[in-house]
């Protein structure tokens, strides 16, 4: 009896937390904090949520194939060129991204002038949870399979970004 009660209470606990987790997840995903640093413009924020980031820009929505996911989806976000123009000083030559798992990569100015590079905030219209490589991530919308330029840059598709440094 005691055992049954424990099981039922556990199930109830799980259901309640699961619901709460799922409901809060959508909102909280947009509230994830991103840190900006480096060659920032004077009025640029140093901490901002994903929502705040979106508010500062007109989001671009594109549909393309993501080789890491092996699927085609709709992605919304900000082009790096725009991000730099908005937040960074003109002398910025590269952007250093760091993710929650401490993965790091640099994207050079030559990259964002040569390719369109999107900083994704939403996937299929939804904020992206960390468990789905959110809150923000880098993608190359014009990726072409078996093109050496794009294949060699696949390591730059950094996800779970939480720190951005303009250099």
């Amino acid at each position: 009896m005691i055992r049954l009660t424990r099981i039922l209470s556990t199930i109830l606990f799980m259901c309640l937390f699961g619901y709460a987790f799922s409901v809060n997840a959508q909102d909280s995903d947009g509230d994830k904090m991103i840190r900006l640093s480096g060659l920032l413009q004077e009025n640029a924020p140093k901490h901002l949520t994903v929502k705040k980031l979106e508010a500062d820009f007109t989001l671009k929505e594109l549909r393309f194939y993501n080789p890491w996911e092996k699927s085609t989806d709709n992605y919304s976000g900000i082009f790096l060129e725009d991000l730099v123009a908005k937040y960074a000083l003109p002398e910025t030559q590269s952007i250093h991204f760091k993710s929650i798992d401490d993965y790091e990569t640099d994207i050079e100015k030559s990259d964002w002038t040569k390719f369109r590079i999107l900083l994704v905030t939403r996937k299929n219209g939804q904020y992206v949870p960390v468990s789905d490589k959110g809150p923000i991530r880098i993608v190359f919308p014009d990726y072409t399979p078996n093109s050496k330029d794009f294949e060699m840059d696949l390591y730059k598709w950094i996800w779970m970004i939480n720190r951005i440094e303009f250099k």
Binding site: F17, A20, E69, K70, I100, D101, W159, M160
Partner: protein, 643 residues
């Protein structure tokens, strides 16, 4: 070789196909598999890496949460949640998808997040222990997953490497086999080409041999006759005329005999070069055989132009030729005939060449370096001579000549002391021909020496036979002056006599006075040397040649034979009689014996005996006899004497 030849094309096709298939299977078809293998390896590495990240993120989340509890920091709490969520993120990454791993780990991660979100910064100790256990379980699950993934990757790699090595060895063997086949094909192809090339060369060589003289490189008889025929057809069509010339090198046989055939060949090559150098490009020259060449002049050649070419040919022959460091002067005889004038009958070519041949024969009779144009009247005579010459050659080869012997009688004893060998011709169609019908032809022709040597040979053999029978008969052999004047006559005669082992004391050589006088270049010195060596010479037909006494005294002769024309008139004509007496007296004065020819009556015998003539020869005693008849004659005289 035929089997190989038939196999060659299929072999090449099979080789090319097999090589292409092997290449396709090894390189093209296997390509996706190789890409898949390398991609799979990358995915497996990523899978291990992300599995590790799952564990790492969970551990970082736990550490971060403990730090948050210690510091009571909301930011650190968010970080902890982020780490756990990131761990789920890595768990869900495509490369990490392993349903069992996900089923084991995802609930643990969600429970960890749930605990943190529930208790936030006030988690009881028991729950912290639970959280720690969850993280430890996640670590152990990840560790297992990593190990499995690593084993799987390694197995795949070893399997692929082994298969790849097997395939490589297989294709290597196939490639080597087909490379060998390909090499064989190429070898066959090369060999076939070589054989074809050789065949072509042989064909060209055969063609050249069929139509060109291999020694001189000019058209051979067949070819030059064919070219002449074409020229003739053209001339017939244009109603034009043309000349041909037949050239023969004089005494070419002597060059061959003296210096050998190699030198003869060199001579022919040299004169071919000279001739081709002096004729025009449009003229044609061919070698008919031996030392005979045929020139066919262009159909528009006029007499003047022809004469200029003939002069050039004469000049070409006037220069000496050097063979084996010795200079030679070779002369030629050339006969020229003109079409259509000198071509009669149905076969114009044969007729034209024959006319040129007759003209050449005439030129040869004229002496050295002569050319002669064919003339119809002369032609008939020359042709007869020419035909006779050919017949004489044949008669010598077929042994048609026979020696008859006319006895010579001692004037004192009336015994048979000798016999003059006189030739007769047992002609296959004309029966017996007397010498007056053919001797002239022999004298004019090319076979004087051969004929003379044949007579000497036969006479010597007969003399030896008689000698073996115990008969003491001297055999008189007639020599023509042309034979005596031939090159190396003395050496040849000496050699012949030596070869025949002849007894010179029983041989007499007769030379006619007329010939001796008429032939300017009689080598008296040679005769003297021969006389010194034991040869005995008689002067035949004496009285017909008008030789002077001084000339007579120079000749190395032992006897003179008074011609029958003087003997015939002994009875009738006193003047002739006195002339015979004078001849006998002069001969006595010069210590030369006298033989009377044509003795036919007893009166002549008695008279000549009174005049101290030494010997008789004539029908009074006997006409010329065959060997058998001569032997019978001797036997009969012997019987009469006994009787």
């Amino acid at each position: 070789m035929n089997v190989l030849k038939k196999l060659q094309l299929p072999l090449i096709i099979v080789t090319v196909l097999a090589t292409a298939i092997a290449y396709y299977y090894y390189s093209i078809r296997g390509l996706p598999e190789k890409i898949a293998q390398s991609t799979g390896t990358v995915m497996n590495v990523d899978s291990i890496r992300f599995t590790f990240k799952v564990s790492l993120m969970a551990e970082k989340g736990y550490s971060s949460y403990l730090e948050a509890l210690r510091l009571q920091s909301e930011d650190e709490l968010d970080n902890a949640i982020n780490y756990f969520e990131a761990s789920i993120g890595f768990l869900k990454t495509r490369y990490t998808i392993d349903q069992k791993f996900v089923d084991d780990v995802q609930p643990e991660l969600e429970k960890a997040i749930s605990l943190i979100q529930t208790y936030r910064l006030n988690m009881p100790h028991s729950q912290i222990i639970e959280l720690n256990e969850l993280v430890t379980d996640i670590y152990l699950d990840s560790e297992n997953r990593e190990r499995e993934a690593w084993h799987k990757t390694r197995e795949n790699y070893i399997e692929f490497r082994t298969q790849e090595y097997k395939s490589f060895r297989l294709y290597q063997v196939i490639a080597i086999v087909f490379l060998l086949l390909l090499s064989l094909s190429f070898w066959l192809y090369w060999r076939q080409r070589k054989l074809l090339k050789l065949n072509k060369l042989h064909e060209a060589e055969l063609l050249s041999l069929a139509f060109y003289d291999p020694l001189t490189g000019i058209p051979n008889r067949k070819n030059i006759e064919s070219l002449l025929e074409k020229q003739l057809v053209r001339a017939q069509r244009h109603h034009s005329s043309f000349f041909i010339a037949l050239i023969d090198l004089d005494d070419f046989k002597n060059v061959n005999d003296l210096l050998g055939h190699e030198a003869g060949d060199q001579l022919l090559i040299e004169y071919t070069k000279r001739l081709t150098g002096v004729i025009r490009e449009e003229d044609i020259m061919g070698r008919l055989g031996g030392d005979e060449f045929l020139l066919v002049f262009d159909e528009f050649t006029q007499h003047e132009e022809l004469n200029r070419i003939l002069e050039r040919i004469t000049r070409a022959f006037s220069l000496p030729i050097q063979i084996n460091y010795t200079e030679f002067y070779v002369t030629f005889s050339m006969g020229i005939a003109q079409y259509p004038k000198d071509a009669q009958g149905k076969s114009a070519i044969q007729s034209l060449v024959k006319s040129a041949d007759i003209a050449m024969y005439h030129a040869k009779q004229q002496g050295k370096n002569q050319f002669s144009f064919y003339d119809e009247q002369l032609g008939e005579m020359i042709q007869l001579e020419h035909e006779m010459d050919i017949e004489i050659k044949r008669a010598l080869e077929n042994d048609e000549f026979e020696l008859y012997y006319q006895p010579q009688i001692d004037a004192n004893t009336l015994e048979v002391i000798g016999a003059e060998a006189l030739v007769r011709w047992n002609h296959p169609t004309r029966n017996l021909i007397m010498p007056n019908e053919f001797i002239d032809y022999i004298e004019k022709g090319y076979h004087t020496t051969a004929f003379g040597e044949w007579v000497i040979n036969q006479a010597v053999q007969q003399q030896k036979t008689w000698q073996q029978q115990g008969l003491n008969i001297k055999v008189a052999i007639n020599l023509s002056v042309k034979h005596i004047a031939s090159p190396d006559f003395r050496e040849n005669l000496t050699r012949l006599i030596r070869q025949l082992d002849a007894d010179l004391s029983h041989l007499v050589f007769e030379i006619t006075e007329y010939e001796l006088i008429a032939y300017q270049s009689t080598p008296i010195e040679d005769l003297k040397k021969l006389a010194d060596a034991g040869f005995v010479f008689h002067l035949d037909d004496f009285g017909t040649g008008y030789s002077s006494i001084s000339y007579l005294s120079q000749l190395p002769i032992q006897s003179i034979k008074i011609d029958k024309s003087f003997i015939d008139y002994i009875q009738a004509d006193n003047q002739q009689k006195r002339m015979v007496e004078a001849i006998i007296h002069i001969a006595e004065a010069l210590n030369i014996k006298i033989i009377a020819e044509g003795v036919e009556t007893e009166y002549q015998v008695n008279y000549l005996q009174q005049q101290h003539c030494h010997a008789f020869q004539g029908y009074f005693f006997s006409r010329p006899l065959t060997v058998e008849a001569f032997n019978d004659y001797l036997n009969a005289r012997k019987q009469n004497r006994i009787a």
